[in-house]
């Protein structure tokens, strides 16, 4: 079952919210879908984004330990927030092209360049996500954690 927060609740700087271990949750949005991500590191946050996309494309169920095939993604963007949006879009593209669910990722970041090894489950993805948008895009790196929010067009 997906956890839901009320629209308008902010995460950046809100110390009491959320565990320090990686996590994601889906927020209320009338027409679209907003995902909130948190992890101790930027790499962890990008990996969490892959887990969130995997859950959405797996019809709302978190993928388990199914066998995966692996593929690599390399991306570059002007800033980390845009890199996150581009990464989510790349996962959606990958799902459409391969007809599989991207369920996990091992991510390395160098500035605003990303290399990721994406694990794909051989299962038809539910093509719920059309795109990741720049609307209300939030990306905050704090000393002990990284937070982000992305609105997805569904």
């Amino acid at each position: 079952m997906l956890a839901v927060r009320k629209q308008g609740e902010m995460v950046a700087g809100e110390k009491k919210y959320g565990p320090r271990r990686p996590g994601h949750r889906f927020l209320d949005h009338t027409g679209e879908l907003e995902v909130e991500l948190e992890a101790p590191t930027a790499e962890g946050l990008f990996a969490e984004a892959a887990a969130a996309v995997g859950e959405l494309l797996n019809d709302g169920e978190r993928p388990g330990g199914e066998r995966r095939s692996w593929t690599e993604i390399c991306l570059e963007a002007p800033a980390r927030d845009r890199l996150l949006v581009d990464f989510i879009e790349e996962l959606v593209f990958l799902a459409e092209r391969e007809g599989m669910v991207p369920a996990s990722a091992e991510v390395s970041l160098q500035g605003t360049e990303l290399k990721a090894r994406v694990g794909l489950i051989d299962r038809p993805p539910v093509p719920l996500v059309k795109a990741a948008t720049l609307h209300n895009l939030t990306y905050v790196e704090e000393p002990d954690r990284v937070l982000a929010r992305v609105v997805l067009d569904v």
């Binding site: 629209q7 889906f26 009338t30 027409g31 019809d59 845009r82």
Partner: protein
């Protein structure tokens, strides 16, 4: 909650009429024109409950916007532009915004009328027809269409829309093309402006429904409001119809993504300050806008071709259950876009009219609509929800003065997807719908629940407001019998 939010804006919102409200130009810094909403007080309370009005005010800040940023009665919060918004930009000094069209370029609706009354079919035949439609129409996964186009064949579809399908594959007909908005092909389409990635995403998806709120519905004409207009459109009481709701699939999504990024990058160079990054835009005459227009038109043509292939599959299903004669006599009433930007002439000015979740609704005086419909106005289709009803409306000339010839595109969501999931389960919803006489086939349990009837506003109320506001008039109400969802 919603009443309180509306009350908090009471000093800003001005009532123009019982079905038209306005947030004046000064209600938010940077607004160049007012933000105007077609709604009654009850709908406005719902609309004020999310960020739709704030998003409409943001649209009112865009350079070159004329008269007002408009919202149809089905408006709800989107990303950047609200869904149900209309913005007309001066073609000489305005901007083009990919976000004002949306990711699903030319998402739209096509209505087919079968030559059969629902009374003539047994419940078994109806069920078989739904099964056959579900079997033949690829829904869920990104791919699955039998036409996997690339290279010059895809180029021709991007340039010419359904006409390229007719000449290359014998799909469709001249009559269908004539009964399609803009005859299924926007001028200025430039396949060369569509990225390789967009082509790779879209090429294999031609003739697929997609997911989210896309669907294909078998319906019965439940009630006629205007028998003359219904006769003109070729609709009779109890007649079976099929409504197809789909768009440009991954090709259009990628075109929007590509150009939002390009325009976000160049907007500062043109002195454009954006209240929301997703409102990224560029001057109409800039190279970036010209390339987007070429790519957007190509994606729009692809969407019309997509719905043409889906209609072809519907005819195959009709032939399998009701015979070849019934398939041949299945007529296309019309096909409308509700995510698009078009160059139109209004009040002597050339304007780029962005319709994001809004339908063109030209009246009888327009030469842009098929000659056969000029007596009554352009058909406008308003899908409701899978458990309630959809409407056929006819555009009115008064809409040209009030909304740049636009009307609503649906009932409009009132509950978030998460809120919908809290209220029922897929199993329960299927059972409820079956009891109400609606057979449902869905590739996604989650998707089904998120599109539950209670997630949407009351479509009867929405179209009544559209009619009172003089945007379009009611012609027929269609009751769902079977729904196929992605």
């Amino acid at each position: 909650m919603s009443s309180l939010q509306l009350a908090s804006r009471a000093d800003q919102i001005r009532e123009i009429s019982p079905v038209e409200f306005e947030l004046p130009k000064g209600s938010k810094p940077g607004m160049r024109v007012p933000a105007r909403v077609f709604a009654d007080r009850q709908l406005l309370e719902r609309i004020a409950a999310d960020r739709s009005l704030e998003q409409l005010q943001n649209v009112a800040t865009l350079p070159g916007i004329v008269e007002a940023a408009l919202a149809m009665p089905d408006i709800h919060q989107g990303y950047g532009f609200p869904v149900g918004g209309v913005a007309a930009m001066d073609a000489s000094c305005g901007v083009i915004s990919p976000g004002g069209v949306g990711y699903d370029i030319n998402c739209g609706v096509r209505l087919l009328a079968l030559p059969v009354s629902s009374n003539e079919l047994s419940s078994d035949q109806l069920r078989r027809l739904v099964e056959e439609l579900a079997r033949r129409v690829p829904v869920g996964p990104g791919r699955g269409g039998e036409l996997k186009l690339s290279g010059s064949k895809l180029d021709r579809v991007l340039a010419k829309g359904p006409r390229a399908l007719l000449t290359q594959f014998g799909i469709g007909s001249e009559e269908e093309i004539a009964h399609t908005e803009s005859e299924g092909a926007l001028e200025g389409a430039e396949p060369g402006c569509v990225s390789a990635k967009a082509r790779e995403r879209g090429g294999p998806q031609l003739g697929t429904l997609g997911s989210g709120n896309h669907f294909l519905e078998l319906q019965r004409v439940e009630r006629l409001f205007d028998t003359g207009a219904a006769r003109c459109f070729g609709l009779e009481e109890d007649q079976l119809t099929v409504l197809i709701h789909s768009g440009s699939r991954g090709l259009g999504h990628q075109v929007c993504s590509d150009y939002v990024r390009i325009m976000e990058g160049v907007a500062p160079r043109y002195g454009i300050s954006l209240p929301d990054r997703e409102l990224a835009c560029a001057p109409v005459d800039s190279p970036e806008a010209r390339r987007y227009i070429g790519a957007m038109a190509a994606a729009a043509n692809f969407a019309w071709a997509n719905r043409a292939v889906l209609a072809y599959r519907v005819r195959e299903a009709v032939a399998a259950v009701l015979g070849d004669g019934a398939a041949r006599r299945t007529r296309q009433i019309y096909d409308v876009a509700h995510n698009i930007a078009k160059l139109e002439r209004h009040g002597g000015r050339h304007l780029w009219v962005h319709r994001k979740g809004a339908t063109r609704a030209f009246g009888p005086s327009s030469k842009e609509i098929p000659a056969t419909y000029r007596a009554v106005g352009q058909p406008v289709f308003v899908p409701g929800s899978m458990g309630t009803a959809s409407y056929v409306l006819a555009g009115l000339d008064s809409a040209l003065e009030r909304s740049f010839g636009s009307a609503c595109h649906g009932a409009g969501r009132q509950l978030s997807r998460a809120a919908s999931r809290k209220q029922t389960t897929a199993k329960q919803l299927r059972s409820d719908l079956e009891r109400a006489g609606v057979v449902v086939r869905s590739a996604s349990a989650r998707g089904l629940v998120e599109e539950a009837p209670f997630a949407y506003k009351d479509v009867d109320h929405v179209v009544a407001v559209v009619e009172r506001a003089g945007l379009a008039k009611r012609v027929a109400r269609l009751r769902p019998l079977g729904v196929i969802k992605g």
